[in-house]
């Protein structure tokens, strides 16, 4: 190749317009694994989600198939705009219904000029439809409002390299009522999550949620997740090992009843299956 053609390419290099280039696929999924990531799906995209957790009850002569306990959160999450997502779901075992709004405030730019981080605001509300059982005992159940809890998060993330992304999630949780006087109604927590892409379609993810003021009436532990995400075509699968037993923020952040280890009763296996439907297809 002659020198001149290279000169022509160099000339073209200067012709690129100065349009900002934003990072994509900081986490790829709208959840790191269990908790929300900064990602939103684009406008007109519906995610059909089945999140599952399985665990055993210790010292029990169990005849259950595979696992003693199974809970699933079935949810629909829709991109109202490229930056705003609305979602609602229900969890089977604890009977919790939740709805959320998620708004992407700042997008990380690839060039040095723009924002070095992405910020997404998250707000949910949850309702405990059961009066007792998993995750429900710490609330009063006299009227509708008593059974609600609200989680606000500021999700802050940076894609450091094409492989590695990190997120911190300052979290505020408000429970509308407490069955026990010693329990705080407001909790502060800090989530830390990371993704490491190991192949074109596979990444390893981890999350940890530190509670600043945990519940006092029961022993709770910080939620931890170690998982693998498999992202392909219209289907995303997320596998996880965790100690959490709920899939709604206020439950797994403040009410995880045991620490993370591999013994029966503590170990929880989970997987999320997300099917992505595009209702607003562009004509290329």
């Amino acid at each position: 190749m002659s020198m001149n053609a290279q000169d022509l390419l160099d000339k073209l290099e200067k012709e690129y317009p100065n349009t900002p280039q934003y990072e994509i696929a900081t986490f790829k999924g709208t959840r790191i694994s269990l908790g929300h990531s900064i990602e939103n799906r684009r406008k007109g995209v519906l995610e059909v989600k089945a999140m599952n957790l399985f665990w055993n009850i210790p010292n029990r002569p169990s005849q259950s198939f595979v696992a003693d306990k199974w809970t699933a959160r079935i949810a629909l999450e829709y991109g109202i705009s490229d930056r705003l997502t609305f979602g609602a779901g229900g969890s089977t075992l604890d009977g919790i219904f939740d709805g959320f709004l998620k708004y992407n405030l700042i997008r990380q730019r690839k060039d040095a000029k723009g924002a070095p981080i992405s910020i997404t605001l998250f707000q949910n509300g949850s309702y405990r439809s059961m009066t007792s059982g998993l995750h429900s005992n710490i609330n009063l159940s006299d009227d509708f409002m008593d059974r609600t809890a609200f989680t606000s998060q500021i999700l802050i993330a940076r894609k450091f390299t094409p492989q590695f992304s990190l997120q911190v999630s300052p979290t505020f949780i408000h429970r509308s009522s407490s069955a026990f006087d010693e329990d705080p109604n407001n909790h502060f927590a800090l989530g830390i999550g990371a993704r490491y892409k190991v192949g074109g379609h596979i990444s390893i993810v981890s999350e940890y949620y530190y509670q600043a003021n945990p519940l006092k009436s029961i022993d709770t532990y910080d939620a931890f997740v170690l998982g693998v995400n498999w992202e392909m075509s219209d289907l995303m699968l997320q596998f996880q090992m965790t100690n959490a037993r709920g899939m709604v923020e206020d439950t797994f952040i403040t009410q995880t009843p045991n620490n993370f280890n591999l013994s029966d009763g503590n170990f929880v296996f989970g997987f999320n299956a997300t099917f992505v439907l595009h209702f607003n297809q562009k004509q290329p």
Partner: protein, 182 residues
């Protein structure tokens, strides 16, 4: 003396201007690609392709950003950039080559071979593409299509998705050039 300098500078300007008019450019070139399989048809289009031709040597250069391809499905755009092309690491695709036996002064349509190097994901491949070039009063329209083999550019497709993505991708292009002004 002053006159000579003015004359000289005019002459130089003239030569310079003449050189410049030898080059034509487009900033809105179109490149689309198609992957047809029995399972799924995928198409994408990039409307912001840059290209320049130097007629003094009949040399052509093309450059484009991979993340400027628009897909029907927004998630496909993410998969394309993050899982296949890895546009974080290889943001651009380029072509540099020569138009063989082309007469830039002849009006009308000429069908010519373009020979050169196509670079995707930092992997360079020699290609020869049959193109139609239309000279319409100093603006040039170049169109054509060709095929690339996915494997040539080390693009990894997981076995489970192999039926969804064609092994050979067809590519169409359309560039409308205007005289290049510095």
């Amino acid at each position: 003396m002053n006159r000579i300098i003015i004359l000289l500078s005019l002459l130089i300007n003239f030569i310079d201007a003449d050189n410049r008019s030898d080059q034509v450019i487009t900033r809105q070139g179109q490149v689309s690609f198609f992957s047809y399989t029995s399972v799924e048809n995928i198409e994408a289009k990039n409307n912001q392709v840059l290209s320049i031709i130097d007629f003094s040597k009949n040399e052509i250069a093309i450059s484009m950003l991979m993340n400027a391809f628009v897909f029907k499905k927004s998630l496909m755009h993410e998969h394309f950039n993050e899982s296949y092309i890895e546009s974080d690491l290889y943001p651009k695709a380029t072509f540099q080559g020569n138009i063989i036996d082309f007469d830039p002064l002849a009006e009308g349509i000429q069908t010519k071979m373009v020979k050169g190097t196509l670079t995707i994901r930092d992997i360079a491949k020699e290609v020869e593409i049959k193109t139609s070039i239309e000279n319409n009063n100093g603006t040039y329209l170049i169109t054509g299509d060709f095929e690339v083999v996915v494997k040539d550019f080390d693009i990894k497709i997981p076995p489970i998705l192999a039926p969804n993505i064609a092994k050979i991708i067809s590519i169409k292009f359309r560039f409308e050039y205007q005289p290049y002004e510095q």
